[in-house]
């Protein structure tokens, strides 16, 4: 599991997630991911095209980061999920909290 951060505007980052975000990997990225998303002071679009697996512990990390961004008036929008990841997000009814859209352009548009 790894991630990369790309600045897409003065107010927003793109964070690219690669690999599996689950119980056994979340510890490897938790601190860095929280710093990159929650502590950046920016909104974020999360690129899930290379995320192969997501479990509840991964969702917890995404949720806790989104909450911090939201409290600062920002947004977190997800895009490009593979079928397994989309299924997990949809099963948890996270649309309000972590909206998922097909493409990066739509995700950026959702930041407003």
């Amino acid at each position: 599991m790894r991630f990369e951060v790309v600045e897409i505007s003065p107010a927003a980052n793109k964070v690219i997630l690669v690999g599996r975000l689950d119980a056994t990997t979340v510890g490897q990225v938790e601190t860095g991911f929280t710093a990159a998303v929650a502590a950046s002071g920016r909104s974020a679009v999360l690129d899930l095209t290379e995320l192969a697996f997501l479990s509840s512990l991964g969702i917890r990390l995404l949720l806790s980061s989104a909450r911090v961004v939201s409290r600062r008036g920002g947004k977190v929008v997800l895009f490009g999920a593979q079928p397994m990841v989309a299924e997990v997000l949809e099963a948890m009814a996270l649309e309000e909290v972590l909206p998922l859209v097909p493409t990066e352009a739509e995700a950026v548009a959702r930041l407003g």
């Binding site: 689950d22 119980a23 056994t24 697996f53 479990s55 509840s56 512990l57 969702i59 917890r60 949720l63 806790s64 989104a66 909450r67 939201s70 079928p83 397994m84 299924e87 997990v88 099963a91 948890m92 009814a93 996270l94 309000e96 909290v97």
Partner: protein, 134 residues
């Protein structure tokens, strides 16, 4: 058609079990989407034991059995933890305001399962069994 594992209730045990069920599912030609659901359910049930279980006689390895027969993928987990019925655990309602984060894993298990049964083993432990959604 049957995979049986003894799984130490630890993160290392969980990681090994995930790799084992995935490799087994591939060897059995289980459809990839179902294999991923199997990996997910395996993780959520074991992670729940690691995080929340109490052990009247100290932690002992859980027993995992996975069966692929006539297109049905079934999983059974036996453990010696204090009684816990996953069918009746509260489900989480994720929100941006709330701080509560528990209950997500079991909610996912319920969504990935077609049948979810719970009972006690002869030794007084928990037995959770389910069919993975096709």
């Amino acid at each position: 058609m049957v995979l049986r594992l003894e799984v130490p209730v630890s993160l290392a045990g969980l990681a090994a079990a995930q790799e084992a069920v995935e490799a087994w599912a591939e060897s059995q030609d289980v459809p990839p989407a179902q294999a991923l659901r199997l990996r997910l359910v395996t993780e959520e049930l074991l992670a729940n034991l690691i995080e929340h279980a109490t052990w009247p006689a100290g932690p002992t390895p859980a027993r995992l059995e996975v069966v692929w027969r006539d297109g049905v993928l079934s999983l059974a987990l036996e453990d010696a933890a204090a009684p816990f019925d996953p069918r009746h655990a509260p489900a989480a309602v994720p929100s941006l305001e709330g701080e509560a984060v528990g209950g997500l894993g079991l909610a996912l298990v319920r969504r990935m399962a077609q049948r979810l049964d719970y009972g006690r083993t002869e030794a007084g432990g928990n037995r959770t069994s389910l069919d993975i959604r096709a």
